[in-house]
């Protein structure tokens, strides 16, 4: 009785080992199961989802106009002090002074891609882009100016 139990234990042990070996053997012989993505080579066909949060960009249309009013809602919403907005005063055609965006400074090195600034923006002027290759040799290159030179606010955006 003891011997029977002992032998069945040994066989059970060997079977459990063989089971595992069968599985690894299966993967060894079935190369179509391989899931490796060869990253820099598959850049063309690699599609990141639209919602992927890579960096903050400001949308400009073909007339080089953006929708940022310089309201600093994003700056307040940012937990890390990533965004710094410098405003100026434009003179409207009616002769009134109006607050407008001068420079939108974005510190990519501080950004945690939390999406809170996008949520806070009342005019949808900024959005998250899918670019994720941010490595540079100089940290100062990560401080970006988001509004393009010479751009101005789009008509009708308040």
């Amino acid at each position: 009785m003891f011997l029977k139990k002992y032998i069945s234990e040994v066989f059970g042990a060997v079977r459990s080992l063989l089971k595992g070996m069968r599985l690894t053997g299966y993967y060894f012989t079935h190369h179509k199961e391989i899931i490796t993505q060869q990253y820099p080579d598959n850049k063309e066909e690699m599609r990141l989802p639209d919602r992927f949060r890579g960096e903050v960009v400001m949308l400009h249309d073909e007339k080089n106009e953006h929708a940022c009013t310089g309201c600093t809602a994003c700056e307040l919403a940012c937990p890390n002090g990533t965004i710094k907005i410098i405003t100026k005063f434009d003179i409207t055609p009616e002769g009134k002074k109006k607050k407008a965006l001068d420079t939108f400074i974005y510190h990519l090195e501080l950004c945690t891609m939390c999406n809170l600034c996008i949520e806070a923006c009342p005019t949808d002027a900024i959005k998250m882009a899918q670019n994720f290759e941010h490595s540079v040799y100089d940290r100062s290159k990560l401080t970006k100016k988001l509004n393009k030179p010479g751009s101005k606010i789009r008509e009708g955006v308040e």
Partner: protein, 371 residues
């Protein structure tokens, strides 16, 4: 170091395991006292990744502080965010729309699955089997892809906001989750084949790191660590939040209290999570995904505590508000911290190899411990 360890005798070996060590999974530093191969004492030295998140949160608004918590237990970041969002909602008395509730639970369970998968791979790697790690990552990547599509990020999503979720689910979400469920149902059997039944693995796990139910409670262990000792402590069952009360699932408890019991609890939990997702995936109610909230949240004066079940155990958020836009004091009760405190108790008298196995079954995430 020798002066610090009081019980050291002549001939004992004091070893620093970590902060850079293959099996501490982060910057955990253990000072272990050995007699030959036998462990006499384990003393955790923490703080290598301490960022004082509690202090940080005191200067962040109630919308902003949620994203920081995904950096604590980064493997169950959704659930951490969920706990914080729940606490703010409790204080503001925001009614979360039904759709958001279901989406939140779905995301929580997917996160739990992803976390347990990573744990399974890492745990097998700790006991010396290297292949399971890659197999686990295959499934985890699938979940991460689904998360990425809906939430916009793979690890620190910041998807939960006070009042709901940040964005509606992606149109592909349901389809892809269903595909994943089918895929994972076959793969979880492979997990059992490769590791669970393996005789070497069983002998490494059974009878090791015994934690009695009394000491599990006394040490404040929660989650699979305590459920492996037969303690019922699943917050989802005991204090249901969101839609957990309406769901059919079992709280997994195994009475043995050793490493294998904790392992089995997590394996069973994966199956339970699958069944929860299956129940919900076709029943996401229509409606808003986010309640209308004020732009600036101000919690009324008072104290608010919310608890959720992360992949590692009970995660508590304790907010003391003075009526301002930022919390006066915030305390995170992280599961790993209490679970780690039982490590010394469990590891004494075992071998070095067992210490690694015990740490594996505790499923330690160091930022969660250090905060």
């Amino acid at each position: 170091m020798i002066e610090e360890v009081g019980t050291t005798e002549q001939g004992d070996l004091v070893i620093n395991v970590g902060p850079q060590h293959p099996s501490t999974h982060g910057v955990l530093h253990l000072v272990i006292t050995l007699n030959g191969e036998t462990i006499k004492k384990v003393e955790p030295h923490l703080g290598y990744i301490h960022r004082s998140i509690e202090k940080m949160c005191e200067s962040l608004s109630y919308r902003q502080f949620i994203y920081v918590t995904s950096r604590m237990d980064y493997l169950s970041s959704h659930i951490n965010n969920h706990g914080c969002a729940l606490c703010v909602e409790k204080g503001m008395q925001i009614e979360v729309p039904a759709r958001a509730k279901v989406i939140r639970v779905l995301m929580d369970e997917l996160t739990r699955l992803a976390s347990h998968q990573l744990w399974w791979g890492a745990m097998a790697m700790d006991v010396g089997a290297l292949t399971p790690f890659f197999h686990a990552f295959r499934e985890r990547e699938t979940i991460n892809d689904i998360m990425e599509e809906t939430c916009g990020a793979r690890l620190t999503m910041n998807y939960m906001v006070p009042g709901g979720v940040m964005a509606d689910i992606h149109p592909n979400f349901q389809k892809r989750v269903k595909e994943f469920l089918q895929f994972f149902r076959t793969k979880i059997d492979e997990y059992d084949e490769l590791v669970t039944g393996n005789i070497i693995f069983c002998s490494r796990m059974k009878g090791i790191g015994y934690l009695s139910p009394e000491s599990a409670v006394s040490y404040g262990c929660t989650g699979p660590t305590a459920r492996g000792s037969g303690i019922s402590c699943d917050i989802r069952k005991l204090y249901p939040y969101e839609v957990y009360g309406e769901l059919q699932f079992d709280e997994v408890t195994v009475a043995e209290g050793d490493c294998f019991a904790r392992y089995m609890v997590r394996m069973q939990e994966m199956r339970q999570s699958l069944s929860i997702i299956e129940q919900l995936i076709d029943n996401i109610p229509e409606g808003e995904f986010q309640a209308k909230t004020k732009a600036v949240l101000k919690l009324p004066k008072g104290e608010f505590y919310s608890r959720v079940e992360t992949a590692r155990g009970e995660f508590g958020v304790y907010i003391i508000s003075e009526g301002a836009t930022t919390p006066y004091r915030i305390k995170f009760r992280s599961p790993g911290f209490s679970n780690l405190s039982a490590l010394d108790h469990m590891a004494r008298g075992h071998k070095i190899g067992d210490l690694v196995a015990i740490m594996g079954t505790l499923d330690l995430v160091i930022p969660d411990i250090d905060r």
